[in-house]
């Protein structure tokens, strides 16, 4: 059996502790080093995981025994830190968004290729069994034609100062949409508003058009009384509600639809069909654990991750276009 992969973690703020816990629990990984600017925050992981700690990530990267680096720092620093890690010959997992511009994302992809290292984006929901099931239902056309999709991801959560709700929250839904539909949107528009800070949108509404007239809509906000993580897919024959917060019924498949019937006088007749509801049993594995295990597996077997750099780039391209729309009062922006 192989030695466990030696993992270093950079960024122990909001999300880092979850990555640390998961890497610590994986038998095939060893979390040996953690870096964060805040020395105080490093006391806990030092005690819990017996990991070496650094306040300068460059010192961590200098550790020649480390195989792989996970990065959960503020989005604006992803490019610099991921570049440095790749330059040091490390395999890299970057939290979403991969970078804050498609330019940066492309450079990271190129660098990873040149160095022959794994570059993975932390799009957790693509490692979520409920999302796998949705993709399967959509791709196998079990719900007929997809009409439209809408997602709500709101909470009274972390109000960020450096990136807005579009870049902070919406990447999850955009990554799910691209994955489930297996396509890029043709265009995107977005409107939002700033309340807490002057320049950072606390709430955004994003509308995307996909091929085949599929409309998608994402509502993201960190100013909302209740934690909601819901996506509804309306198909011509069935409809799916994915509620990530519901422990018993993550996916509900409604055998409901509206059918068109041909009619004598050129006008079609409509019939609404309202049927059974089916809640498939979904494997309850923690998506982040799946993500971490997949990263380690790609590192060890030299495989391309499901959520690779290109995957991260696609989401960044959509975010970039949505940001451009946000700046122009919701003007529709084409995505090439």
């Amino acid at each position: 059996m192989l030695e466990p992969t030696r993992v270093g973690l950079i960024g122990y703020g909001y999300w880092g502790p979850n990555l640390a816990r998961n890497f610590h629990q994986l038998p095939q990984a060893n979390l040996v080093a953690i870096a964060d600017l805040d020395a105080k925050r490093l006391e806990e992981p030092a005690r819990l995981y017996h990991a070496r700690t650094y306040t300068d990530y460059r010192e961590l990267l200098a550790d020649l025994t480390l195989d792989a680096i996970a990065i959960s720092t503020p989005a604006r620093t992803h490019f610099e830190i991921a570049s440095a890690a790749l330059e040091h010959g490390k395999h890299v997992l970057v939290e979403k968004p991969l970078a804050v511009s498609s330019d940066e994302a492309r450079q990271l992809i190129a660098l990873a290729e040149r160095k022959g290292r794994v570059l993975m984006t932390g799009h957790t929901f693509e490692h979520n069994p409920a999302v796998w099931k949705m993709r399967e239902l959509v791709q196998q056309r079990a719900i007929g034609d997809v009409y439209y999709i809408y997602a709500n991801r709101v909470n009274l959560g972390r109000v960020q100062r450096d990136i807005n709700a579009l870049w902070s929250i919406a990447p999850h839904d955009i990554s799910i949409l691209l994955y489930v539909l297996g396509a890029m949107p043709l265009d995107v528009s977005a409107r939002g508003a700033t309340y807490i800070s002057e320049k950072v949108e606390d709430v955004v509404f994003v509308t995307l058009t996909f091929p085949n007239k599929i409309l998608a809509h994402v509502h993201a906000s960190w100013l909302d009384p209740s934690k909601t993580r819901q996506m509804t897919i309306v198909g011509s024959e069935k409809m799916i509600v994915y509620d990530d917060v519901d422990a018993e019924a993550k996916l509900r498949i409604y055998d409901k639809g509206v059918y068109k019937h041909g009619s004598a006088f050129g006008e079609s007749q409509l019939k609404i069909h309202s049927g059974d509801i089916y809640i498939p049993k979904i494997d309850m594995s923690e998506p982040l654990r799946n993500e971490c295990a997949h990263f380690i597996e790609c590192v060890r077997d030299n495989k391309c991750p499901r959520t690779d750099g290109e995957n991260g780039l696609r989401v960044v391209r959509v975010l970039e276009a949505a940001q451009a729309s946000l700046a122009c009062q919701g003007k529709v922006i084409r995505i090439e």
Copy 2:
């Protein structure tokens, strides 16, 4: 005591039976005549209410003993029928939307004034005790500054062929927004998509900007697996969730907010406050009954209805602007 007001109902399709039932139950009203194009549909109310029935609404209007007319016909016919009723000197209640253009709405208002008759719009939700409570909380600033509001009104419901989801479903939310905020929006944008019919949007997303940077968003669709009628008002100090489908908790008031604190170095600090939830007892009277009773009261006491013609016009103006935006891929349309 006065004789009961003699009421005629025009339109016994989807909504008409509800109006009939309510007018029948009101002691101060007498439902004496019902018209519908479909003679078959008139059998039931003839039996239940001992009402005279007509397949031509003009014959009904010719009945000189009728004091008041309620109209629940397709939206495109509102103007013609309401005009005729007013010309016959009847008091008129028109289902929402008041008309399909602001021009029509203005003509109805002028005609009602000339004839000295009551013209009321059937914006049911402004006769809903839960909405009254929301308005009170907002107007008394009990939730601090209003930041943003979003509404979901979706269902697998009546797919209409003559008007889209914007004109059919969204009037409810627009009327609530105008009523609760006590203001007209500055601008509106809307995107939607057509699936069942080629020219009728089955789903629309409407974004409105109100004074004081208040953003509002309405999602309306008749292609959705679950009946949802929800509105969330996010304020600086408290947040309200209004769920019209929840029997026990129509309104939830969250003592939650994000506070800015001044700070030494010019940068404000944030504190998220997550507190108690309070579910006020709401009078369970049926809003439509309130609406019908209010109409009869206005007729008898010659009062101006809470949801008068001007009120109906305001909603039509917003719908018109939203329709213009829909036609231009979501371009922001100013409302004068």
Copy 3:
């Protein structure tokens, strides 16, 4: 086509208005007379239904044109009034419980037989499509062996002074249990407590043993914050939750169970199986309307009702035994 059956209603208190509304709406019935001790209460139905009204039920029974009588008076008066109605040659529908003793119930059955008239008990839930579906699932063994069943029927509802929660609320669940299982219980025990009145239990817990070791438990109370009407059937292979208050999911069928496996050392091994959930589409017809229509149908076609006198007697026998147990601190009472 036959003339509509002429129906008289005795008792216009809490439940009577529901019977009145349903008989009024049935095309094959004519609600022509209503009696209640309270003349004031009769004003409303006189206006709504153009029914003749009486404060003495004997006058109503003297109306020779009446074919059938529905009785929704206090339970203690059922025997006297139903007897009188049968003596007058009327068909009779009696609200649950049929009578307050098995003796009375047996006399009513005998009288109806002698007079050749329909005697039906108003066990509404046996006219409920969701309950039909449960019975079908149980009787076809689609859930394997039935292990145990428990029901909660609580509310902050009508606090009665003449009968306790056992006789007022639990008849519903007992009627459902007998119907779904197709069997009488072998024994019953009950405990309860009195808070509001000294002699009337506000809350009761009833435990019943059915053949095949099936245990059933009923919790009935009118002192409870939330309206709950739930029954859970635990089977060896599947489990059913019936929630009468849930509009979307009246029945949930859980593909869950505990399996025993043979094992080498005489000790069986257990495996818990946790699977899909299935929510069948249930016909949304109003159970009380089904009940009223069924009564009229039995009257017109001279058929024996699904919930006939014998059915009512069986429930009364269980209630009687439970009452005896209640008086002996929960002693188990055999049912012959």
Copy 4:
């Protein structure tokens, strides 16, 4: 600052991992040794916590550097293992139930006293902030007189072979009842049934009478489709629903009640009051973490635990009486 308390854990089956995780995370504790009969199961904690592992708990107890022992082994072994630990001079935390007879429990209490060591029972729910709040509301009479309480603790969970649902599940509710009411029950009765094993009840219904006519009822089962952990306290002025599974609303306080009014003719009149609902913000700390921290605190400061041996004994006495009732078909058993 003191050295962290050195903790050994005996039993790493279903619950042990939760204790291990919590002791590991507490800064003031050091989880240094873990024992379990199954060597295979010990691999994980050895890796995660760098703890020494033993398959014989006696070897663990022989470690002189250990200050305190947590025991999460099958209930029947609690007495033997806790006795041995106390004999070795260790402070002891025993999972509920403290022992399988009051005799054993009393011996443990006496031994702990003789040895001058802390003996704590793992009644987690008495370390739960929601339960603290309920006790406060009840003890301060904020809900008026307590009328009755009922609890549902069901799940498709661990089917046990050595102890029944009474001893395995109901201790939680009994401990909550005793704690919230601050009193012992006067008597108890219980009925149950066995399905999976011949001698082990899978489901039990327990009825308890407390002073002041307070009735309590507990339904415990491991054969149920949905995880439910609910307790309802009905008071004369307010009612509380405690739902441990609800993340947003652990406690709901209903401003509802039934009032008696004096009346002229000796008969009181009733008025049902249905009011607001209030959901207090509850501290979200993990109860088990509170419990572990409290144990360490008692060990270090030589304090008597909130859930001490006497507390554990009281629950065992109720369980013993309930078991006796179970054996006699629900006969009411007095508790001295």
